[in-house]
Symmetry: C3
Subunit: 208 residues, 3 copies
């Protein structure tokens, strides 16, 4: 079992926990919790495979992603009080998942010979679409659209990946550098509450 | 015309009616009614075909699903007062559709050589995703995530299908046993208002 | 560069502007604006390619659609005050995009040998699904489901396309006639505020 695969499973678990906690917040039943855990964890990779035409999509072959989502759901169901408190652990696990998912998405995209901007886009898709589906199902405006610079981190990481690729590093070196960069940038963004500019920041200044 | 195909068209009609009634509740215009009827009826099968790579998807070849959705929309538009009253007829038709759709989904999945858990997942997808899209378009939290054990019924049926498959029953025997099991379980769940546990059932006990 | 391709890029720009303005209304940050611009502009074509099995989908090969969406986002971000005022220019650009997108959708569908009703459906999908995703991400009931007869215009145009095809016009003649018909019908619908009937128009009459 390769390190990438292990990190992938770890990221899947972290994303599944975030989906399950959202379902618990919305007072869904145990099935709703499992579904939200599952779509959050595998939504991005599934959409990536569909856009690439890698079908049947990966979750249909390798049932481990289903099992991980179910286990994460029970963990969240039993320990949600603790999990809501130790928010920082979830954020760190989520950052790790983010780094790994971007790298896996870009790697699969380049194997299918898509353009570099297309590959960066698919890295982003792999990392954030699961969370978007989670928020849609829970009737929230997708967090990625309104919160800090979650997605900008993925895009910056994707650009790093392409740059490292053109200077001929090995695949493992690229993956670990890119994932490390994303994880670090994400943790810094959380720590220092970085945000992107929005129109209202201007308008409000002008209103007064 | 095979019995499965006839039941498929019947289930399509039942699902289309449920989509059309949701659109009427939300005061959509006639086009909105047709769209909601259509996506509710064919959403699950379409997503299944996309995940499997069975493209162009089935609705693009066989226009009968489009015609059925349009007819169901006009039926709902003209008789919605009656239909809202005889809710039990809709629930029974919906249960029948559910049983058939799960079986069709699993059968198509196994033809594409996916794993058994993947096949059960696709049976569920075929049966419930149309309703999920209906609820998203109507700005409702998907019913399947918060109500009784609609989806659990589909998963239980899917597991029955796999078990029957391993003991070498004929395809028709498997289909009719599985569909029958799902329809029966669904009707019992409605009759006795079975629900899954949720976190709030615990919290509320502890709050008092 | 063919005229169709140029019109396609123009329509993409118009749709991207409409997505960006929705994001600004919802107070999203710059990234949210780019995402909403992008999915509005390419959502319909992407879903069409997925349903047809034309994968990897077009945006992954030709990055110009990504660049156009980003440019449109900055234009909307800088000039949103002006753009909200000259609403009629946006509506005209949107009508032009609508005409072109329907034609491109049907052309690609017929190349994949789908049924005529399936082709009309894919023309409609190409034209309206981007807007539906925009509205879902912004937590609005999709405009196409509740407003005037936006989608009916696309379907009527699609039927015109199929009729012109059977009387053996050249591809260019069909495209320009169909697109022209859709643009004209759309502008008339806006001018005269045409709407489809809905149930409440009956109920309200009967209530009084």
């Amino acid at each position: 079992m390769s390190i990438i695969y292990m990190l992938d499973l770890f990221g899947t678990f972290a994303f599944a926990i975030s989906g399950a906690l959202m379902a618990i917040k919305k007072d869904m039943d145990l099935f709703g919790i499992i579904v939200l855990a599952f779509v959050t964890a595998i939504g991005g990779g599934t959409i990536r495979d569909v856009l690439l035409g890698n079908t049947p999509v990966f979750i249909l072959y390798d049932p481990i992603y289903i099992y991980i989502s179910i286990i994460a759901s029970f963990v969240a169901f039993l320990f949600y009080r603790v999990l809501f408190k130790i928010n920082s652990i979830i954020l760190i696990a989520d950052a790790l998942g983010l780094g790994v998912f971007v790298c896996i998405g870009i790697t699969k995209a380049l194997e299918a010979n898509v353009s570099y901007p297309g590959a960066v886009l698919l890295g982003l898709t792999t990392a954030v679409v699961g969370g978007v589906i989670r928020d849609l199902l829970a009737k929230e405006i997708p967090a990625v659209l309104i919160r800090d610079f979650y997605a900008v981190t993925c895009i910056a990481g994707g650009i790093i990946y392409i740059i490292l690729l053109t200077i001929n590093l090995s695949h493992n070196e690229i993956i670990f550098s890119t994932a490390g960069f994303i994880i670090l940038l994400r943790l810094l963004a959380i720590k220092f509450k970085w945000n992107l500019i929005r129109v209202s920041s201007f308008s409000s200044k002008k209103s007064f």
